[in-house]
Subunit: 446 residues, 2 copies
C-alpha cells in the first residue's frame, strides 16, 4: 500500500510490443511512471529472423520472447494482451474491446503489414511474411511443394511444383530466395528419390533495376552475383501483372511472360498498420502514401505533444525530407528517445532533439554470403555474414533464445541440416492431400 | 539403372513413421530389400515429450525429426508422404489416395488416438494430446487462460479461468498436471499484476484408486505425494460424468460435484488407429476392446504371415495373456524384431521368437521429481528424474534436436523460464478475443 499522500503516477500507455514499443517500455524502467504495454500477442517477435522460420531453420519460439517474461522484473510495467481498436485524445484514453485505458502519454508502435498495391486478391496465392503464422504457413507450402513434386508424375506439374517465385528483392526477398536456394541445392539434395531438388527453379522478381534497391549499387551487384551463384534467377525491372495460384504473369519492357509456379512469396511492399488511419481520424494528422503518420521531430503527433508514433508506423523526415527506413534499429532508437522524453517531462527537464544514428544496413543471402554497409564500409561475403550473425544473436532479447539459436545455427553451419522443416497446421491444400480417387490398380510412382 | 538380370528386390512397405515404423525401416538398413515408409506427416514425432510443447518448454521442431533426413543416407529406403486408406492382401498392395503401392511384406504401425469412451462431444472442450497441433492448441489454451484471468474482474469467472483439470492420471496426465503446476507456482508467478498465479487450481482426476495405475503401488503413492506438494489436487476413484465447456461434472461414491474449469485436458484413454478396423475387415483378424489387432507371437496377422502389426496398434499377448503396454520401447523392439524377421526370411534363415525386454517404466512429475521402475528397483525423486532426462535425450533421434533440447532443459532448470510459452495459431476463442462491446467509459482493470 502506498501512502495516500503520493500524487497519481504519470500513466504511459504503449500500443504494440515490437522493437519500438518494447524498447520504449524497457527504457522507462527507472522512470517514475506507470507503464501499460498493450499487444494482441503475448510475445515480442524478432521479425528479422522470421524468414528462417519460413525456411525451416528456426522454430517460432526461438525468435519470440514472451512480453511478460521480458518485463517480469520491471515493477512499473504491466502487460495487457488486448487489441486497441480506437483512441480518444479528448479524454486521453485508448479504446479496447473490453473497455478504455486512460493515459497521460501514449506511444503507438503497431508497425506495418503487407501491401499488395490494390491486388489484395493475390494474398492467398502469394502470402507475405509478417507473423509467426505467416512463417509456419510459408514453411508448410515450401516443404509440401517438394513432397508433392516427389509424387508427381506429370513433368509439367512437377516443374511447376519445383518453381518458387519471390516477389520483391528487398532484404526480406533476398533472404527468402537465398534460403530456398540453399534448401533445394544443399539441404534436401539427398532426401528425395524421384526428384532432383537441385533442379528447382528459384526466381527473384524486382520491379526496380537492381536487388536491394536501398543499398549502395556495388553491394546490389555483389548480392545479385551471390544469388545467381546459389542458383537463384534474378529478374529486375520486372513487374508482376497477375497471380492466379497456378501461374504468375510478369512484364519486362512491355513483354509479358506467364510462368507456372506453385509457390509464390510476397516480399514486395509494406503498408502501415490500420491504427495510422485511426490516429489520422482522431487527431487530424496526415498520412504518407504508405499510410504512415507524419510526425514531429520529437516523434509526437502534430498538436498532440503527448501522443507519439514510432517505428514502421511513423514517417519521420530527416534533414533532406527522406523518411527513416522501416527497420528495427530505427524503431529501437525512437522507442528509447520517446521514453527519455517522457521521463524528462515528468522531471520537468528538457532533452535534445531526436537524431537517428545510422548503424548501417545488413542483408544475408546464404551461409557465408551477405552484404553490409557499415559506417561507409561496403562489406560482402563471409565478413558481412559474420557481422550479421553477431548482430542478430546480440539483439535476440532473451538469453535462452540466443543460446538455442546459436546452437541451431552452429549445427546448421556444420551439417546444412534444417531441423525445423516440419509441415504443420494449416488447412491441407491440394498439395498435401490430393482429392480422393476411385481405387485404381496402377502402382504409384514412388 | 540396375542390370536386367538381378531378381526384383523384396518390397517392404511400412505404414507409419512413429517409433515402430521408423525403427523397422532403420533396422532394414543393410537388408537386401526395398523399403517404402508411408506417413501422412513429413516428420517423426517424439510423442513422450509432447506435453513439454503443450506447456511451453519445447518447440514442436525440437521433438520432431524430418523422416527424409533420418532416412536420407539409407539408400534402400524411400519416404512417401501419403495417407494409406486401405490394404488389399489378395493383390499385396496398400491403397492410398493417389493409387496403390505393391508390397511383399507389410508393416502397419499407425498407432493410436484419443478415446472418449463414447463421449466424442467432449473432444472440443477437453482436447487430448497426440499431435503437434494438439500440443500447440493446448499451449494456446493454457496461456490464454492466464491472460484472460489477468483481465477478468468477476472473481467467479477468474477462478474458473485459473482452474485446470486434467482427466486421467496415467503417465501423460501426471506429466501435464505437474507441468501446469510448475507453470502456475513458479514460472509465471512474477509475470502478472492483477492475478496471483500461485492461486491457480490444478485438478488431476482418475477413475481408478490411484495415480499411475500400471505402476507399483509404492510409486503411485510417491507420485501422488509429489503432485500434492506441487499444488496439484489429486482426485482418485472419481469419474467424469459430463463436460460442457464451462463446467465438469464429477462423480465420487455416487456423489456428484460440478466444477467450473475453463481449461480441461483429456489424458484418459487411447483407441487404436482406424487402420486396425481396415486390417480386421480385409484379413479377418480380431480386434481387442481398444481396437488393437490381435497378432501372432511373431507380430504377424493370423493367416497373413507377411502382414505385421506393431506398436500401439498391436495386441501382443505375453505368457500370461496380458497385452504389452502402449509405450515407445515396445514399438521400437517390435519394429526391430519384424525387420530382423523379414531380413531372415529373405535370406532363408530362421529367427528366435519375439521376447519383450522390459526396460522398466518412467514418469516425470516436475523438476527433480519423477518415479521409475527399473529392473525391479523402485526409484523416485532426483535420481528417477535424472534417469528420465538421460533416457529421453538419448532417444531423441536427431543430434541437433538432442542438443537444443538439452540446452533448453538446462536453461529451464536454472531459470525455470519457459521460452516457448507463445500463443499462436488456432481460431481465437472467447478467451483470446472477447466479443466486441459498445464503447464504454469505465476504465479496464489492468
Amino acid at each position: 500500500m502506498e501512502p495516500v499522500t503520493t500524487p497519481p503516477k504519470h500513466r504511459v500507455v504503449i500500443i504494440g510490443g515490437g522493437f519500438g514499443g518494447l524498447y520504449a517500455a524497457q527504457s522507462l524502467n527507472r522512470a517514475d511512471v506507470e507503464v501499460t504495454l498493450i499487444d494482441k500477442r503475448n510475445f515480442h517477435l524478432f521479425q528479422p529472423l522470421l524468414y528462417q522460420v519460413a525456411t525451416g531453420t528456426l522454430s517460432p519460439a526461438d525468435i519470440s520472447s514472451p512480453l511478460r517474461s521480458v518485463l517480469s522484473r520491471q515493477k512499473n510495467a504491466r502487460v495487457l494482451m488486448e487489441e486497441a481498436i480506437d483512441i480518444d485524445p479528448e479524454n486521453h484514453q485508448v479504446v479496447t474491446r473490453r473497455g478504455t485505458i486512460p493515459y497521460d502519454s501514449l506511444i503507438v508502435a503497431t508497425g506495418a503489414s503487407h501491401h499488395y498495391f490494390g491486388n489484395d486478391q493475390w494474398k492467398d496465392d502469394a502470402p507475405g511474411l509478417k507473423t509467426v503464422e505467416d512463417a509456419v504457413e510459408m514453411r508448410r507450402r515450401i516443404f509440401s511443394a517438394f513432397e508433392a513434386a516427389e509424387k508427381e508424375t506429370d513433368p509439367e506439374k512437377r516443374r511447376s511444383l519445383l518453381t518458387f517465385m519471390v516477389v520483391g528483392a528487398g532484404p526480406t526477398g533476398v533472404e527468402i530466395a537465398g534460403a530456398i536456394a540453399e534448401l533445394a541445392k544443399e539441404t534436401l539434395k539427398n532426401d528425395f528419390r524421384s526428384i532432383d531438388t537441385t533442379e528447382a527453379q528459384i526466381l527473384l522478381v524486382e520491379g526496380l533495376d537492381r536487388v536491394l534497391p536501398p543499398y549502395p549499387a556495388d553491394l546490389s551487384v555483389k548480392a545479385a552475383e551471390s544469388l545467381e551463384k546459389l542458383g537463384v534467377t534474378v529478374r529486375t525491372k520486372t513487374k508482376v501483372i497477375n497471380i492466379d495460384g497456378e501461374t504468375v504473369t510478369l512484364e519486362y519492357n512491355d513483354e509479358r511472360e506467364v510462368i507456372s509456379a506453385k509457390t509464390i512469396i510476397w516480399a514486395a511492399g509494406v503498408k502501415a498498420s490500420g491504427v495510422g488511419r485511426v490516429i489520422s481520424d482522431r487527431t487530424g494528422a496526415s498520412l504518407d502514401r504508405a499510410g504512415r503518420v507524419m510526425v514531429e521531430p520529437d516523434m509526437s503527433v502534430p498538436n498532440h505533444p503527448n501522443i507519439f508514433v514510432i517505428g514502421d508506423l511513423a514517417h519521420w523526415a530527416d534533414s533532406e525530407g527522406k523518411p527513416l527506413p522501416g527497420i528495427a534499429p530505427v524503431a529501437m532508437q525512437a522507442g528509447k528517445f520517446v521514453a527519455k522524453l517522457i521521463k524528462a517531462r515528468v522531471e520537468n527537464k528538457t532533452l535534445p532533439v531526436f537524431k537517428y544514428q545510422d548503424l548501417g544496413s545488413l542483408a544475408v543471402i546464404a551461409q557465408n554470403k551477405a552484404v553490409a554497409n557499415v559506417g561507409g564500409f561496403h562489406l560482402s561475403g563471409f565478413i558481412a555474414w559474420f557481422i550479421w550473425i553477431v548482430a542478430h544473436v546480440y539483439f535476440l532479447i532473451e538469453f535462452d533464445n540466443k543460446l538455442v539459436v546459436m546452437i541451431q545455427w552452429a549445427w546448421n553451419y556444420i551439417t546444412r541440416a534444417r531441423g525445423a522443416r516440419i509441415i504443420t497446421g494449416g488447412v491441407p491444400t491440394p498439395i498435401e492431400a490430393p482429392p480422393a480417387r476411385p481405387r485404381q490398380e496402377t502402382p504409384v510412382e514412388v
